[in-house]
Amino acid sequence: MKRDRQTLPIAAIREENPSLRTFRFDTQLEAQAGQFVMLTLFGEGEKPFSILDENADSVYITVKNVGPFTNRLFELQVGALVSIRGPYGVAFSLENKRVLMVGGGFATPPLRFLAKSLRARGIDYLVNVNGARSQADLLYVSDFEELCDRSLIATDDGSLGHRGTSVDVMQDILEEETFDCIYISGPERMMKAAVDVARKYGIPFEVNLERYMKCGVGICGSCVMDPNGLILCKEGPVVGHETLAKVQEFGVSHRDKTGRILEI
């Protein structure tokens, strides 16, 4: 059996904002945008994190501090040992030439990685809509501006860009332009709204889903989605429009750590 666990020091830590940090690891995973790693904090636990970027020397993950595990991670200094395994899961496709990306909140790092990958591969036209509650919560604004032909912003409070959601802006764009594919990454309610709009305009899309994951390799069953049994850690987290049509729990329910169904 393949051994894919690596124990290594944190090579660098960058504070993106008070609740968000990017961690650098000097290793190679050959990861693609949308994939994730399982990260172990010794004595604490193991959680999945999506990959922000990878270059010839390093892998980066961006982490939002949301609970005890990330609290512990935020206490660690450069040089502290952690363990990572991966990359796991299905990445965003890279074949499309006219692309719209719609991101919300703290789920935009994979879109930044995607934009970079699409650029490297050669793309005709790339538009990004970056949405957040407020200007202070927006991530990678200058990176998206640099990587995209058009880069638009929406904030709930109107502190920067359009006042409203990234889905509002998406709708406005689709009134004027068409795309081969729309890539969506954000909170599930936002993604549900974006998917409804994409369907209305008949444009293929891919979404970056999130469910409670424990093993990361498709055997514990924690992340399996109803009712078609999609094993999200292996067959996602990026899911295309045809598969998503069979995932009736999308936007409706998810399962807790014990497997009980909870409404979204």
Binding site: M38, E46, K214
Partner: protein, 301 residues
């Protein structure tokens, strides 16, 4: 073929603990070619289980310490009902109790479900801190729990046995005497551990876990063979089966059906379809007409 009176399309069964939390998983595994599915072990109350890492791989297989994650018997049986709703598939409902009283309550709850069989997980190695010595290691406990459950259950009852018992054949005989309709053997072996040398720590958050995968297959074959010689009730064999030849071997040793667990990690859910094709190829090449022709036909030197 049949297993305990139920017609099954193939002897290949999803082992307990793999994917089996939800009806969606269970139906998916049947659609992908399994003959039967086993739920994760259900306890009276929901359990989160252990923190990760819950699985560590090594050269010979996996070491796991999931810690009986499950939504509890009430929600778990709702999943069983959804599984059977307008869907053809045979289910084994696995349950785990802290004592014979809990096992009886669990069995009563399963009576009202559409689940086909009841499996008593008497041997989870990963919750010893909580529940002390696994029942499958204590002869009197096997007798007590199986007797108590059989007195109330209206489902065929399988007792899941542990290779950690001093004499698993004795346990098999006691389970049969107490009225068990079948046996599931073997559960994971040990505790074992995988060490991360750089970190100087065990990989598993829970330090130790049950060993599964190819490395336990020779032990499973021998223990199934021993039990087969002493009991008349059917054996659901499990332990390190990852291809058709493994499954054929296990049936020759005495298993009436074969459960697959860790190999789902190695080969994905296709493992059921592929293993079945491999079994059928072997059988047609060597002149076996039916799966049941394989059961216990081992000739020893």
């Amino acid at each position: 073929m049949q297993f305990l009176g139920k017609v099954i399309p193939s002897p290949l069964t999803l082992a307990s603990g793999i994917l089996g939390i939800s009806f969606s998983s269970l139906q998916r595994v049947i659609r992908d070619g399994a003959g039967m599915v086993t739920t994760k072990s259900l306890s009276l109350e929901p359990r989160i289980g252990h923190e990760g890492p819950i699985i560590a791989e090594f050269e010979g297989g996996l070491v796991n310490s999931v810690g009986l994650t499950n939504p509890g018997i009430d929600d778990g049986l709702l999943e069983v009902e959804k599984f059977h709703n307008e869907f053809a598939g045979v289910s084994i409902v696995s349950v785990f109790g802290a004592n014979s009283e809990e096992f009886v309550n669990l069995a009563r709850a399963v009576n009202h479900s559409k689940g086909d069989f009841l499996e008593l997980n008497l041997s989870c190695p990963n919750v010893e801190d909580e529940f002390k010595r696994p029942f499958a290691l204590v002869p009197e406990k096997i007798t007590e729990i199986v007797t108590a459950v059989k007195a109330v259950s209206n489902k065929p009852v399988l007792a899941k046995l542990s290779p950690n018992a001093n004499d698993i054949t004795l346990m098999a005989m006691l389970a049969e005497q107490a009225g068990a309709d079948g046996l599931t053997m073997i559960n994971t072996l040990g505790h074992g551990m995988v060490i991360d040398a750089i970190a100087r720590r065990p990989v598993l958050r829970n330090n130790f876990g049950g060993i599964s995968g190819p490395c336990i297959k020779p032990l499973a074959l021998k223990l199934i063979r021993d039990a087969y010689k002493q009991v008349k009730i059917p054996i659901l064999g499990t332990g390190g089966v990852s291809n058709g030849l493994d499954a054929v071997e296990m049936m020759m040793a005495g298993a009436s059906a074969v459960a697959i667990g860790s190999a789902v990690y190695e080969r994905g859910l296709d493992v059921f379809k592929i293993t079945r094709m491999e079994m059928e190829a072997f059988m047609s090449e060597h002149g076996y007409e039916d799966y049941t022709d394989l059961i216990g036909i081992l000739e020893e030197n």
